[in-house]
Amino acid sequence: MRSALLLASSGCLTALHVTTPAPTVAEAPAFALPAQDGHRVALADELAHGPVVLVFYRGFW
């Protein structure tokens, strides 16, 4: 049973080519990244308006 679970999970990992997830951190690091229209969006500016949901996705592929 345990080996089956391990096999299943390794299958998932292989499917996603996971290396290592980021370590759990308590605070989001400050960052500013360019949006699709070129203007830079800073997390700090967004947080000034309230909580922010960051959605990480694999992109257009």
Binding site: E27, F31, Q36, P51, V53, G59
Partner: protein, 231 residues
Amino acid sequence: MLAISGDSAEDSRVFAERYHLPFPLLGDADLAVSRALTGVTSDGNTLPGIVIVRGDREIVERRLATAKDDRVSTAGLVEALDRALGTHGPAITDDQFGAIDRIQLRLDAGGGHAPGGVTGVANVTALAPLARFVVVGPRASFDLRDAPVALGGELALRLPFVNDIAAIELGGIAEYAPVAPRGAIVGGTAALWFAWSPQWSLQLAVEVDREGGAQRITGTFGVARMFETPW
């Protein structure tokens, strides 16, 4: 909400346009932000995940994909947001204005028992929120039997519930009928108000008035168009 991937600005622009995305798509070209918050896959891509950051920068929720098609459902995300932020689901809001904070233009009609017998009534009321628990505004009412037109106002205390999309209201009415039979009308009303959108609500009310020493009891059902409060 911010979406982050390793995509180029051009790819993100095409993607956002194709799906009419209202939030910015940020390009994490060197994957530094991905590496810090979710992770990077061995094929050099962002590890999909959702991170909820509170205003003080504390990360209150982090969910990482564990399989290729692993996605958080909308309900799951709302639940996570509620748990993380202490909220209670999405209130009916439109551009940050909740129905409870809006000006209402109400049209109510119904009938009841007036001093002269059975009657039909209609009220047009404009109510503005003075505070979360108080609405006030002018009212014009029409009574088929006893007072063709009466003009005055209403002040109501309201007790919001169900996520501020419904309220019980207890109000006072003071009006004057300028045409015969002239006279003052004072009364009280109890109502159940329900907003089904930020623009429209329904209300069911019972009203008891004194006019010329006699009592009138009416029940009304109405609809309100709601507008953003300009203050």
